[in-house]
C-alpha cells in the first residue's frame, strides 16, 4: 500500500511542479502580487510531495517489499539494513527519484530563504526550477518509474552489486547529486536574469551563496568518490579519468570559475554576460554529464543500464533545458549592458586569469571525454582517451593556475602593481624553490614541481591572511585581535586556496609512491619503504550470509620492532559469483600503507601488493578544507543580512535591437 502512496505523491509532485512553472514564468506579467506569492508555497509543496514519495521507496526497501520491482532487483533478504536503504538510490530509477528530490529541495530552499530577493525575480527563478523539475518528474513517472510493481512477487531479491555494498555509497551519491543539482539554482537565476534582461551587482550577490553551497557539496562529493575508489578498488589510484569522474570534474571547474567571476559581478559590475553563461554552462554540464553517462553513450564502469528509449527522452529534456537556455542567452545576452573596462593587473584581472585557466582545463577534459564517441560517429574509429592525454594536456594549464593562485588575492581591486604583491611572496617563493631543489635532487621531477606548487599555494594563502592582519607590521597582539575582524568570506577564500594547495601536495606525494608486487609463502617477507612486511598465515575470516572471506595476516615491523598487523581480505559474493579485494589500509595522515591480497595459488603462496603512499591523505584533507572554506564563507555577514535593495534602473528594452 505504501509504495502506491509513494507513486501518488510523485504524480502530485509533478502536478505541483507544472503549476510552479506556470505561475513562476507567467505570473510576473500579471501584475498581481498574490499570484507571485504562490510560487514559493508551491515550491515547498513540491518538495514535501517528493520527500514523501522518496520515503515510501526507502520504506519498501527496508521492509523488503518485493512487489516493488526496484526492490526485488537490487536488494535481497541477506542484504544488511544499511544497504537495503542505500540500495534505493544505487540503481537507475531510484537515483532518478533522488535527483528529482534534490531538485525540489533546491526550489524549496529558495522558497524559504529567498525572502530578500525581489518577488518577481524570485517567482521567475522558481518558475525555471519548476519547469526543469516538471520535465524530469515526467521522465520518472513515464519511462523510469521506480514504483513498478511485480505480481506475484519473487521470494528472494537479486541483491546489491557487491562493490556497491560499502558505507561510502551511503553518502556519496546524495552529496554528489546535491552538488550537481544545486547548480540548478544558479542556472535558474541566470535564466531569470536573461528573461528580465538585467544583471547587476545585486544579481552577483544573490547567485554566489547558492553557487558556493553546491560547489561545497560537489567538492565533497568528488572527494568521497575519489576516496571510495581509492580504498574500495584497492589499486592505490585516486583518479582514473573515467568519464564518470570527468563529468563531475567539468561542472566543478566551471562552478569554481563561476564563484570567482560572480565576485567580479558583485564588486565591479563586470563579467556579467560571462557569469550568466558560466551559470548556464555549469548546470548544463552537470545535466548532460550525468545523463550521457546514464544513457550508456560514454563508456564507463559506472554506467547504469538504460534503454535507448530512455536515452532519447533524456536527450529531448536536455535539448529543452540546455538548448532553450542557450537560445535565450543568444537572443538576450547581446542587449545586457556591456561590462566596463579594467586594468589587466588588478584583482579582477587575476580573477579573469583564473577563469581563463579553469575554463581551458575544462575544455581539455571535455574534449577528452567527448572525443571517443564523436570520432566514432564521424570517422567510424573506436578509440579511448586515457590518463596520458589528460596528464600531458592539463598539466601545462594547471601550472600557471597554481602560480597565479598565490598572487591574485594580494592584488588590489581596479589598479594594482605586480611587484609589491611579489615582494610579499618572496619568502614563499624561496621556500618553494628550496623544496623544488631538494626533491629534484632525489630524482622526482613531476613530484618536485607539484610539491613546490603545493607549498607555494599553501604558504601563499597564509601570507594573504598575514597581510590582512598586518602581521609583523603592527604589534602581535594587535594582529591577533585583527584576526576577528577579517571577513568570513576572506577566511573562506583563504581556506579554499589553502585546501587546493594541500590537495596538490597530496597528489605530489602520490607521485613518489613506492610499491611491490610479490608472492609470499607463510613466514616469508619483503622490504618496502623501510618496513619489513611478513606473511604470517592466510585464514578464513568471519563472513556474512552475503559473502565468505579469506584473510591474510601480515606482520609489519620496522628495525625489528613490531609496528602493526594488517589484515587484507578477499571476499567471495556467492549470489553474484564475484570477488572483491578489501585492502588493509593504515594511515597516519602523513602517509598511507596499503596491503592488497590479490590471490592464492595452489602451492600455498599468496600474492600481495604492498604500497606506501606519502602524503596521500592530504588529497582528501585538502578537498575537505576547500569544502569547509566554502561553508565558512557562507556565514559571512554580507550573505546573512541579505543584499541591499536593487536599483530600479529601467529595463533595457530589447525591442529596438532585436531587429538588428
Amino acid at each position: 500500500m505504501i509504495p502506491t502512496w509513494g507513486h501518488f505523491a510523485l504524480a502530485l509532485g509533478f502536478a505541483i511542479a507544472v503549476a510552479q512553472a506556470m505561475i513562476g514564468l507567467f505570473g510576473p506579467n500579471l501584475r498581481n502580487p498574490a499570484v507571485l506569492r504562490a510560487a514559493p508555497a508551491l515550491a515547498i509543496g513540491q518538495f514535501v510531495m517528493l520527500a514523501a514519495s522518496f520515503a515510501a521507496l526507502v520504506w519498501a526497501g527496508v521492509v523488503s517489499d518485493y512487489t516493488v520491482k526496484n526492490v526485488a532487483q537490487f536488494s535481497s533478504s541477506t542484504t544488511p539494513l544499511l544497504y537495503r536503504i542505500t540500495g534505493t538510490w544505487g540503481n537507475h530509477a531510484g537515483s532518478m527519484l533522488l535527483w528529482c528530490l534534490i531538485l525540489a529541495l533546491c526550489g524549496g530552499v529558495v522558497g524559504v530563504f529567498g525572502r530578500s530577493i525581489p518577488t518577481s525575480l524570485r517567482a521567475r527563478v522558481l518558475g525555471v526550477l519548476g519547469l526543469v523539475s516538471a520535465g524530469f518528474l515526467l521522465f520518472t513517472l513515464t519511462v523510469s518509474d521506480p514504483f513498478v510493481r511485480l505480481w506475484p512477487p519473487p521470494l528472494h531479491g537479486a541483491g546489491v552489486n557487491p562493490i556497491l555494498q560499502d558505507p561510502g555509497l551511503a553518502v556519496h551519491p546524495p552529496i554528489l547529486y546535491t552538488g550537481y543539482v544545486g547548480f540548478s539554482i544558479a542556472f535558474a537565476f541566470a535564466v531569470a536574469a536573461l528573461i528580465e534582461g538585467r544583471v547587476d551587482a545585486a544579481w552577483g550577490r544573490w547567485v554566489r551563496p547558492w553557487t558556493i553551497v553546491s560547489w561545497c557539496f560537489l567538492t565533497a562529493g568528488i572527494c568521497f568518490g575519489s576516496l571510495w575508489s581509492y580504498y574500495t578498488l584497492g589499486w592505490g589510484g585516486f583518479w582514473f579519468w573515467d568519464p564518470v569522474e570527468n563529468v563531475a570534474l567539468l561542472p566543478w571547474l566551471t562552478g569554481t570559475a563561476l564563484i570567482h567571476s560572480a565576485i567580479v559581478v558583485e564588486k565591479r559590475e563586470a563579467l556579467k554576460t560571462w557569469s550568466v553563461l558560466l551559470a548556464i554552462a555549469t548546470f548544463s554540464l552537470s545535466l548532460s554529464g550525468t545523463f550521457l553517462v546514464r544513457s550508456g553513450l560514454l563508456n564507463s564502469v559506472h554506467a547504469f543500464a538504460v534503454s535507448p528509449n530512455q536515452g532519447l527522452f533524456i536527450l529531448v529534456l536536455l535539448a529543452l533545458t540546455v538548448g532553450g537556455s542557450l537560445l535565450l542567452f543568444a537572443i538576450r545576452a547581446p542587449v545586457l549592458a556591456a561590462s566596463g573596462m579594467f586594468a589587466p593587473v588588478s584583482r579582477e584581472g587575476a580573477l579573469i586569469l583564473n577563469n581563463v585557466f579553469l575554463c581551458m582545463i575544462a575544455a581539455v577534459v571535455f574534449t577528452g571525454t567527448m572525443y571517443p564517441p564523436f570520432v566514432d560517429l564521424l570517422f567510424g574509429l573506436q578509440l579511448s582517451v586515457g590518463a596520458p592525454f589528460y596528464d600531458q594536456a592539463a598539466l601545462p594549464l594547471v601550472a600557471p593556475l597554481i602560480l597565479a593562485m598565490a598572487v591574485g588575492p594580494l592584488l588590489a581591486w581596479k589598479r594594482a602593481a605586480i611587484m609589491p604583491a611579489l615582494m610579499k611572496l618572496w619568502a614563499v617563493g624561496l621556500m618553494s624553490l628550496l623544496v623544488l631543489a631538494v626533491v629534484l635532487l632525489r630524482g622526482h621531477a613531476i613530484a618536485a614541481l607539484a610539491l613546490a606548487g603545493g607549498v607555494w599555494v599553501v604558504l601563499g594563502a597564509l601570507v594573504d591572511l598575514g597581510e590582512r592582519v598586518r602581521l609583523f607590521r603592527v604589534p602581535l597582539r594587535q594582529s591577533f585581535s585583527r584576526l576577528f575582524s577579517v571577513p568570513r568570506a576572506a577566511y573562506g577564500a583563504m581556506m579554499g586556496h589553502l585546501g587546493f594547495g594541500v590537495t596538490v601536495l597530496g597528489i605530489a606525494g602520490m607521485a613518489t609512491q613506492v610499491h611491490v608486487i610479490t608472492v609470499l609463502h607463510p613466514g616469508q617477507g619483503v622490504n618496502l619503504a623501510g618496513y619489513r612486511w611478513t606473511l604470517e598465515r592466510v585464514q578464513d575470516a568471519p563472513g556474512t550470509p552475503a559473502y565468505a572471506a579469506r584473510q591474510a595476516v601480515i606482520d609489519v615491523t620496522r628495525g625489528g620492532k613490531h609496528v602493526m598487523t594488517m589484515l587484507p581480505e578477499r571476499r567471495f559474493f556467492t549470489a553474484q559469483h564475484t570477488t572483491t579485494e578489501h585492502a588493509a589500509i593504515r594511515t597516519n595522515m602523513l602517509w598511507d600503507m596499503f596491503a592488497t591480497f590479490a590471490g592464492e595459488d595452489k602451492s600455498g603462496g599468496a600474492e600481495f601488493r604492498f604500497n606506501v603512499h606519502p602524503l596521500a591523505p592530504e588529497i582528501w584533507l585538502g578537498g575537505l578544507i576547500m569544502a569547509l572554506g566554502g561553508g565558512i564563507s557562507l556565514t559571512d555577514r554580507r550573505f546573512r543580512i541579505g543584499a541591499p535593495s536593487r536599483k530600479r534602473t529601467p529595463v533595457p528594452k530589447p525591442a529596438g535591437t532585436e531587429t538588428a
Binding site: T273, L297, G323, L383, A598, E607, A660
Partner: protein
C-alpha cells in the same frame, strides 16, 4: 547593421551552436545504439585491420629494443603485449603468457611507463616470456597504439597488420575463444 553588434551576437550564439552540434551527435549515437551498431563498452582498438603505427623504442639498459620495421619484417605472427611491473593483472596473466611462449608463439613485450630496474625485477620474479622487450617510459607509443590500460595485447600478422586485440589479461578463456581462432586465420 552594426558590425560589432553582429559579431557580438554571433559570439554569444556560439555556445548554442556547440550544444546543438552535441545534441545532434548524441541523437545519432542513440539511434545507432538502438540499431545495435554502436557499443561504447566494446574496446575495439582502431588499429585492428590497420598497419602498426611508427615507433622506435629502446630496450632495457644494454639490450636492444624494437621498432616498427622490426615488427613489420617478421615472417611469423607476433603477439605484442603491453605490461607494467606495477600492474596486478599483468602478474596474473604472466603464467599464461609463459605457456604461450613455450608453445612457440613470438611474444614481444612493451613495458608501459615503467622504470628499467622495476621491469628487470618483475621479469626476474615472474618469468620472461618475451622474445624482445622494449621500454615505453613516456607512454607516447601507447597513446599511438590507442592503449586503454595494461595489460593489453595485439596480434600482428606478417607484414605488420594488426589482426586482433584484447584489452584484458590473456586468461585461458580469452586465449581459447579469441586468440587461437585469430592465429589460425593468419597461418
Amino acid at each position: 547593421m552594426d558590425r560589432s553588434l553582429l559579431s557580438r551576437r554571433l559570439l554569444l550564439a556560439a555556445p548554442l551552436g556547440l550544444a546543438v552540434a552535441g545534441g545532434v551527435g548524441a541523437y545519432a549515437l542513440i539511434e545507432r545504439a538502438k540499431r545495435g551498431t554502436y557499443n561504447p563498452q566494446d574496446f575495439n582498438n582502431p588499429l585492428v585491420g590497420h598497419r602498426v603505427p611508427h615507433f622506435a623504442l629502446s630496450g632495457l639498459p644494454g639490450q636492444q629494443g624494437f621498432d616498427r620495421d622490426a615488427l613489420v619484417a617478421m615472417r611469423r605472427p607476433v603477439l605484442v603485449n603491453f605490461f607494467a611491473s606495477w600492474c596486478v593483472p599483468c602478474v596474473q596473466e604472466s603464467p599464461f603468457l609463459d605457456r604461450l611462449a613455450k608453445a612457440g608463439l613470438d611474444i614481444w613485450g612493451v613495458a608501459y611507463q615503467d622504470k628499467p630496474e622495476a621491469t628487470a625485477l618483475y621479469l626476474a620474479e615472474h618469468g620472461n616470456p618475451y622474445r624482445r622487450l622494449a621500454m615505453d617510459p613516456t607512454g607516447r607509443t601507447a597513446i599511438n597504439w590507442g592503449l586503454y590500460g595494461v595489460p593489453e595485447s595485439f596480434l600482428i600478422a606478417p607484414g605488420g597488420l594488426v589482426r586482433w586485440h584484447v584489452a584484458s589479461p590473456l586468461f585461458p578463456d580469452v586465449i581459447e575463444t579469441q586468440l587461437e581462432p585469430a592465429l589460425r586465420k593468419i597461418t
